[in-house]
């Protein structure tokens, strides 16, 4: 399965997302922000980073990149799209997922191994998780505080669009401890923590068993491959 990873000026974790796709058994395809071409991919990842230096607002300028026209169109037609960190900010700016992001409440960049609970395993990117499963994946951002108005919060809570919640501690002041959300259809998911950094033994978060051995992020990528195969069946 071909999974596109888009590089924007200032993208940082795009090669990590490509590696994660590969380790999950997919074929990563590098896409360029300036092209109007999805090159026949079946799913898309908007990677982490500081696209356009986070100028104006994080994710704002990138959400208007040429390729985003095709991404938005494909998302509306049901193609799985995952926005990680800066990619989540782009999805929110492009109105593909609800909410917005503010500066972390502590005022600084935060990097930590973060515990999350999977609140909805019925999205394109979460089917390999158990409902309510607790996972640890790295978090690293400066503008990670999820915000939305009260009506939106109620709506997404009622709809099951809250996909991930922070457990143990809320690292950035996000409302309702929300770490990730989906669109109504569940094909578009955005989250602040970085699943692509918990896919390879020796390079992930620490676990009780061994240093840097956490692999909880891998299921994001196996989920989308699995759910795409099932949708074709």
């Amino acid at each position: 399965m071909r999974v596109g990873v888009i590089t924007f000026p200032g993208s940082l974790d795009e090669r990590d997302a490509q590696r994660a796709v590969k380790l999950a058994g997919g074929t990563p395809v590098a896409l360029w922000h300036g092209a109007h071409d999805l090159e026949g991919v079946e799913a898309i990842i908007l990677p982490g980073g500081f696209s356009y230096g986070d100028y104006l607002r994080a994710g704002s300028i990138a959400s208007h990149a040429p390729i985003m026209a095709e991404v938005i169109d494909a998302a509306h037609k049901g193609m799985p799209v995952l926005g990680i960190c800066n990619g989540f900010q782009m999805l929110a700016e492009a109105r593909l997922v609800p909410g917005a992001h503010g500066r972390n409440d502590c005022g600084t960049f935060v990097r930590r191994d973060q515990k999350l609970i999977v609140e909805n395993n019925n999205t394109a990117w979460t089917t390999d998780f158990a409902q309510g499963e607790e996972i640890i994946i790295p978090l690293k951002n400066a503008d990670g505080r999820f915000v939305a108005n009260a009506d939106t919060i109620k709506r997404i809570e009622d709809n099951g669009q809250v996909t991930f919640r922070y457990v143990g501690m809320n690292p950035n002041g996000s409302l309702d401890d929300i770490a990730g959300v989906s669109n109504e259809a569940g094909n578009v998911v955005g989250l602040m923590p970085h699943p692509e950094h918990a896919v390879e033994p020796g390079f992930g978060p620490d676990t009780a068993q061994a240093m840097r051995s956490g692999l909880d992020g891998l299921k994001f990528f196996t989920s989308v491959i699995q759910s795409t195969i099932l949708s074709k069946a």
């Binding site: 000026p9 200032g10 940082l12 974790d13 090669r15 990590d16 590696r19 300036g34 982490g48 980073g49 500081f50 356009y52 230096g53 986070d54 100028y55 600084t108 960049f109 935060v110 990097r111 930590r112 790295p138 690293k140 400066a142 970085h194 692509e196 950094h197 390879e200 020796g202 390079f203 620490d206 009780a208 068993q209 061994a210 240093m211 840097r212």
Partner: protein, 763 residues
């Protein structure tokens, strides 16, 4: 546009007696006279600007050159084997095998970081990263070595928050994992913090690029950010003056960084290299266009013609002199074949990087610069970039050092009872220099790029270079200013030994050295003596260990008023590991494994963290350094790593065995039972010495019981002193460190004491 008319060469000839402000630009009378002699006339104002920045201490190494030569002279054949590029280029390059090379360097940005901590530190990262890019490498990691004033001084939070914020902002935004570093507090750095930044890059052998302008007719291209008024004269004014509270404000001289522009520049440069579009390349750092043009020309065919009007400006009112001196960040200068220029432009346009062609390489042997159609510079570039002044400054044995060395810590009261030992153990754990640094390190991303095998709080950072084979490098830096104050020769060797050991405990083989030599004013003969001794110590040490110094940086004038900082030679050691999967963690993760102490413990408390923290004492002579023994130890650890005999290894340094045990139980929350009796008996020391002495050549390792015999066999075969001093115990909420017969302390309490110190002052 500016109404300022640049001083031309013709004008300089016509007006030989014009008074020029060379003093304000940092040039001495005899230096100005020398410039006039070289040119056979007075310099134009543009030439004066160029000479003044390039002959500054920061750019010319005029006070240090005669000593730095040792790094090139004290070398064995073995030290040259893996060295692809040595000192003098933007950064050294080391062959790490499989067709890969690693380039690395540490540099100071001390003075800007005191004036404007955020931008000073941010642009420090930006500058060292550009040095790495200009070697043809992809930057893959950064580290920073920070020294602040006293933790409880009212100005320290301003500096710390600014510096850490600047490093976090710039490094994270570049997508470079920050994999380690140092943070120290000492009142000697109060008015002059040290902000050193290190970067490492990797490249294939064939991608190596050098800073030279060769090939007559090749184009000189400036690309990246536009040139503005920031950092004008920064190099000469900031690096040549000490801070004086009564002096005028120097804020405008600090550059402002834009990491987004640099990130795009990195990717753009790497694509240019891949496509083979660049003949030579140089980053623009200190002294901006003056430095880049004169260095490129000096290292190449010797001639260059540049039209300054083609420089893209952020501020159109800049004068020619300001354009020549501007230190605007995120700029590079490339030498491009004319037939490849279109392809070059296609790549920079793809990345939206602004670019202009300034001129071309010539065979005249002269660097000629025009502005407004007139010749404003016509010099031999070597006289600017290479043949600057060289000083043999007066050196004097410090009047105070004999008394300081006679004031040993041996007379200080040592704890006797278990309760006293526990109390002092926890005081050390909580002391600013040993306490947990998460408040700082959680602001750095070490995950990005997905190749970080080790990072803080491990003893060394480690990065995978080749995803197929697992080939990687480890890197650690160290410096102990207190030891260097007591004895700069031994202090430098101690820094080298500790960095070397930190790389060895990770399972890597030490291969090369970089250094950042932070000292007071070279015009003070006692400081010059400290510098001379430290360089001798480092050069002798490197020869003994047979690892070459590949490059680095000297930072003088680190003082407030007449009080210099402690000599602080930061030494970085790079090691190579065949497969990062064999890396050794710094701490144990399971119970029931044996803990061994390698090496002897002597009564070496002079200059120790114990003497400083418990008694506020600094005196005596630093611990003995036996580099042959360090080499043995590194070989032993490497052997153990290859045979996978050890589960963890942790270097003993600041705070001694006590601190190493504390860090080991805190890392994964797994406790330990430890006994000191055998150390006390074998080495003839007391319990306090066993816990707090900082003797070198020591490491604690944990070994699974089934590998005991093989491990001990390895130690015996090498005749390395080894003692079983404990076993790892259970983890979880009840985990504790039990120093048998003396004291017991819960891991929770150790953590609490370690974790509360920095937030108390900076939270």
């Amino acid at each position: 546009m500016s109404t300022h008319v640049a001083d031309t060469v013709d004008n300089a000839i016509a007006t030989p007696d014009k008074v020029q402000p060379y003093g304000a630009l940092g040039l001495k009378d005899d230096e100005y006279a020398e410039i006039r002699k070289i040119l056979g006339r007075r310099p134009t104002s543009g030439e004066l600007a160029m000479y003044s920045v390039m002959w500054s201490e920061h750019c010319s190494y005029k006070s240090s050159k005669i000593y730095l030569r040792q790094f090139g002279q004290k070398v064995s054949e073995k030290m040259k084997e893996k060295l692809m590029v040595g000192m003098g280029e933007n950064a050294g390059v080391v062959d790490v095998g499989e067709g890969w090379a690693v380039t690395f360097k540490v540099e100071s940005h001390n003075h800007p970081s005191y004036i404007e901590p955020f931008q000073g530190a941010a642009t420090g990262v930006g500058g060292i990263v550009r040095d790495i890019i200009s070697m043809g490498a992809r930057p893959v990691a950064v580290m920073d070595q920070l020294r602040f004033g006293a933790i409880d001084h009212p100005d320290t939070p301003r500096v710390l928050h600014g510096v850490v914020g600047g490093i976090s902002f710039y490094g994270n935004c570049l997508g470079l994992p920050n994999i380690g570093g140092e943070t120290y507090f000492d009142s000697c750095y109060q008015g002059n913090p040290l902000v050193n930044a290190l970067s490492v890059g990797v490249l294939r052998h064939e991608d190596l690029h050098l800073a030279n302008a060769s090939g007559v007719g090749n184009k000189i291209v400036l690309f990246g950010a536009r040139t503005g008024g920031d950092g004008i004269g920064g190099a000469s004014i900031l690096a040549s003056d000490s801070f004086d509270s009564t002096g005028p404000t120097k804020r405008p001289a600090v550059q402002v960084g834009d990491p987004f522009a640099e990130k795009v520049l990195i990717e753009c440069c790497l694509e240019l290299y891949r496509e083979g579009l660049v003949e030579g390349i140089q980053d623009l750092g200190a002294a901006g266009i003056s430095c880049a043009t004169s260095e490129l020309a000096s290292n190449g065919d010797g001639g260059m013609f540049v039209e300054l009007d083609h420089v893209l400006l952020r501020d159109p009112t800049l004068t020619a002199e300001e354009i020549l001196m501007s230190e605007s960040q995120e700029r590079m200068m490339a030498v491009v074949k004319p037939e490849l220029l279109d392809q070059f432009m296609a790549v920079v346009n793809k990345w939206d990087v602004e670019t202009s062609v300034l001129g071309e390489v010539t065979d005249t042997g002269r660097l000629v610069i025009h502005h407004g159609g007139e010749e404003i510079v016509n010099v031999d570039p070597r006289t600017v970039a290479i043949d600057g002044p060289v000083y043999e400054r007066p050196v004097a044995y410090p009047t105070w050092i004999d008394a300081l060395q006679a004031d040993s810590a041996d007379k200080l009261a040592r704890p006797q009872s278990g309760a006293e030992l526990k109390d002092q153990f926890l005081s050390l754990v909580a002391s600013p220099n040993l306490a947990d640094k998460s408040l700082i390190t959680t602001q750095y991303d070490y995950f990005v790029m997905g190749n970080t095998a080790l990072s803080f709080p491990d003893d060394a950072g480690m990065i995978r270079v080749d995803e197929e084979s697992g080939l990687g490098f480890a890197i650690a830096t160290d410096a102990n200013g207190r030891y260097c104050q007591l004895d700069p020769y031994q202090g430098a060797r101690l820094a080298l030994a500790e960095a070397y050991r930190n790389v060895a405990v990770s399972g890597a083989v030490p291969a090369a050295v970089t250094d950042c030599l932070n000292f007071g004013s070279p015009e003070n003969p006692e400081v010059m003596w400290q510098f001379k001794r430290a360089v001798e110590g480092l050069a002798d040490g490197c020869l003994e260990l047979e690892i070459p110094v590949t490059g680095g940086n000297v930072s003088f004038y680190n003082q407030t008023g007449d009080a210099p900082i402690h000599p602080t030679p930061v030494v970085g050691v790079l090691g190579v590991i065949d497969d990062v999967a064999r890396r050794i963690p710094s701490s144990w993760q399971d119970e029931g494994n044996n803990i061994y102490l390698l090496g002897y413990t002597r009564t070496e408390l002079d200059g120790s963290a114990w003497a400083g923290t418990i008694h506020n004492h600094l005196g005596g002579v630093p611990p003995v350094v036996d580099l042959a023994q360090e080499k043995e130890l590194a070989d032993l650890l490497q052997g153990a790593a290859i045979e996978s005999l050890i589960l963890s290894a942790h270097d003993l340094s600041d705070g001694g065995l006590g601190q190493a045990l504390a860090e080991s139980v805190m890392r994964f929350g797994v406790g330990a039972r430890v006994w000191l009796d055998e150390i006390i008996e074998r080495d003839g020391v007391d319990a306090a010495t066993a816990l707090f002495s900082e003797s070198t050549g020591r490491v604690i390792v944990s070994v699974p019981r089934e590998d005991d015999v093989r491990f001990l066999g390895l130690c015996e075969a090498r005749n390395y002193p080894v003692l079983r001093i404990g076993v790892t115990d259970q983890g979880g909420e009840d985990a504790k460190l039990d120093v048998q017969g003396l004291f017991e302390v819960s891991v929770a309490e150790i953590r609490q004491r370690s974790n509360e110190t920095l937030p108390k002052y900076f939270g």
